[in-house]
């Protein structure tokens, strides 16, 4: 269980409580660096694919439709080419900045890459996310990402020598900035007063305790499962949630395995082929017991506590 508890500890470290204007406590989870990096990669792939397609389309217009390579009048050919060049230059600029601005000012507060990875930006003080904040955080991306990459590439060739290396190191500080603060802020977040948080979109899952089996009676065999005090006091909340996940996933093999494990642990033998009903009954009764204790202020985190 060492890995599970360290994962939970890492989750807890990224949790932040925010008090809304109504005085409600809202818990946010700061997005991980991996998710943020992944979102950035997806966004750049999208932007570059669009630019490559656009460039290809403009070249097709230039040589396929207008026929620049076989036109006789150089003056008109030049004008068509110029128009295409203007379109291309403006598209380059627009996609580099407007892509991020448009999506992050919008109601989702996230680009396509961020949406795919379930994260969004939010104002760090709990207030509204303003357009100015989004502009500020995106303008700073230039020195955080493009300059260090260009500088480091230049420093390796060595023609700028020590000064180049120093500049590369200086800019690398910006690139590594998210690794040196607990909210994984990059410099743009700091300037804009924003942070990136997880924005999960979950469906409401099925209620667990409405089935007949949850009341203790198996529909398949008619067997009644009722567990005593000793059998229910073995496990805690962590095991309950693991069991919940197993039941919701509904994989036959893991249900059999888990049922066998629990039977061995509590010294019970359930009939073959009725594992799901057994687990539903055990889950419901364990949860009823733990929730009752919870109302009295007693909590049992896991089987060891």
């Amino acid at each position: 269980m060492a890995t599970a508890s360290s994962y939970l500890a890492a989750q807890a470290r990224r949790r932040r409580e925010l008090i809304t204007p109504e005085g409600l406590s809202l818990s946010l989870t700061v997005a991980g660096r991996g998710a943020r990096f992944g979102a950035l990669m997806i966004d750049y792939i999208i932007i570059n694919v669009i630019l490559i397609v656009l460039t290809g389309f403009l070249l097709y217009l230039a040589f396929g439709v207008i026929g620049l390579d076989r036109v006789s009048d150089p003056e008109s050919a030049f004008q068509s080419l110029e128009f295409l060049a203007v379109v291309w230059l403006i598209a380059m600029f627009v996609f580099r900045y407007a892509y991020f601005l448009y999506f992050e000012i919008g109601p989702r507060g996230a680009t396509w890459g961020k949406r795919m990875l379930g994260i969004r930006i939010a104002a760090r003080d709990g207030g509204r996310l303003t357009a100015e904040a989004v502009i500020a955080r995106n303008l700073l991306r230039d020195i955080e990402l493009f300059l260090p990459l260009v500088m480091i590439a230049g420093a390796q060739s060595g023609d700028s020598g020590l000064a180049g290396m120093a500049a590369a190191a200086w800019f690398a500080v910006f690139m590594l900035f998210p690794f040196f603060n607990k909210d994984t802020l990059r410099a743009g977040d700091l300037i804009a007063g924003t942070w990136v948080v997880e924005a999960p979109r979950r469906r409401l899952a099925q209620t667990m305790s409405v089935s007949e089996a949850a009341r203790g009676t198996s529909q398949a065999t008619g067997a009644k499962y009722h567990f005593g005090e000793a059998e229910l006091s073995v496990y805690g909340e962590y095991e309950l949630q693991t069991l919940e996940r197993v039941l919701r996933d509904n994989q036959p093999e893991s249900i059999v395995t888990v049922a066998e494990t629990i039977c061995a642990k509590i010294g019970w033998s359930a009939g073959q082929g009725d594992e799901r009903a057994f687990l539903e009954a055990y889950y419901t009764q364990l949860r009823a017991r733990l929730e009752r204790d919870m109302r009295f202020g007693k909590r049992k985190a896991d089987k060891n506590s």
Binding site: P107, A205, M294
Partner: protein
């Protein structure tokens, strides 16, 4: 019952059988999940930008539903161990909160407010920083002039080859005059040139702004370096006796472009200064506050650079008379000064800025 598909449509549509639930916490949930799902539908519509599809009833119900869900969450945290329901509620309340406290204005609303005084007010708010930037730019120009006048070799160090072209020490007066007054062949090539200039200048000014992060020092150095280039060129044309003509040629777009770079540098210095001297605030909140104000200045800088690119690409090449050039440049300067000094003085400060 247990074999109903977990996420099946049926479970969503049929009214929950509350009495069937064996657990008290599940009954609590079943009694309220209708409201949660209605809230989720409203929030999903708002997130996808389909605001028109929301009925008036939904809009009125949103705050109440949001509070209901939030208090359900508070209760559920204390009474239920159903991890899936808790996770769903946490996510739902968070999404509803983002919408209830989300940005209220559309892009057009923001633009109207921005041009109607938000921009000029933020420029006035960073006035001292703009003066620092102005001092750096003047100093840079003087340094450039003095360096080149003491040793011509400096010219090549300051002015990169692709900028200079024919404008190099030793060029004949006629060649220099040609760079100022010759019409380019036809009018072709100008719009592409303007678009190129714009994206280039925009990147320089974004750099001047971003480098303010390091307490403003690199912004000042960048301004001095760029203006030293101008100083060197001024000296070159002065040497050829064309100083006034050069300034007129430059002023057509220069009053707008240099003003924009001045504001960008000022915005960068503003961030750096508020981080170095945050006063009573924490460094983080000082940086965030000045960053938002500076970003508003920067949005305007981009607009100014677009105008400058159009002036540079078209007006400067097509108007070849020194007097007319001064009139255009001076007029633009007057427009900018009037806008920044006069517009939006009586506007209340933007809510996002305080």
């Amino acid at each position: 019952m247990a074999l109903i598909p977990r996420f099946g449509r049926k479970t969503v549509e049929s009214p929950p059988d509350i009495a069937a639930a064996a657990l008290r916490s599940d009954r609590f949930r079943l009694e309220r999940e209708g409201d949660w799902k209605r809230l989720e539908t409203i929030v999903s519509r708002m997130e996808s930008g389909r605001l028109r599809k929301l009925s008036d009833d939904d809009v009125i119900a949103l705050p109440a539903l949001y509070r209901t869900a939030a208090s359900s969450l508070a209760v559920a945290r204390e009474t239920t161990l159903d991890a899936a329901t808790l996770a769903y509620l946490e996510g739902l309340v968070q999404r509803a909160w983002f919408q209830v406290y989300g940005p209220r204005t559309s892009f057009l609303g923001w633009l109207r407010r921005f041009l109607g005084g938000g921009w000029s007010a933020s420029v006035r708010a960073i006035g001292p920083d703009i003066l620092i930037a102005l001092a750096a730019m003047i100093a840079g120009t003087i340094v450039g002039w003095l360096l080149v006048s003491s040793d011509v070799q400096w010219y090549h160090a300051l002015v990169p080859g692709e900028y200079g072209g024919e404008r190099a020490p030793g060029a004949s007066v006629e060649a220099l005059r040609g760079t100022l007054f010759d019409k380019p062949e036809g009018a072709s090539g100008l719009s592409a040139f303007a678009a190129y200039l714009f994206s280039n200048n925009a990147q320089v000014s974004i750099l001047a702004f971003s480098l303010g992060f390091a307490f403003g020092v690199p912004s000042i150095l960048l301004l001095i370096h760029n203006m030293a280039l101008l100083g060197a060129m001024l000296w070159l044309y002065h040497d050829a006796g064309l100083l006034v003509d050069f300034i007129a040629w430059l002023s057509v777009h220069g009053t707008t472009e240099l003003f924009a770079i001045l504001l960008a540098g000022g915005a960068g210095i503003h961030i750096g200064r508020s981080m170095a001297f945050p006063g009573n605030r924490s460094i983080l909140s000082a940086a965030a506050e000045s960053g938002r104000r500076a970003a508003q200045v920067m949005s305007g800088v981009i607009i100014m650079l677009m105008i400058a690119a159009v002036l540079e690409g078209f007006a400067r090449q097509l108007v070849t008379d020194t007097g007319s050039r001064f009139i255009i440049g001076g007029f633009m300067l007057a427009v900018w000064l009037a806008y920044f000094l006069l517009v939006g003085r009586r506007l209340p400060p933007a809510r996002g800025e305080s």
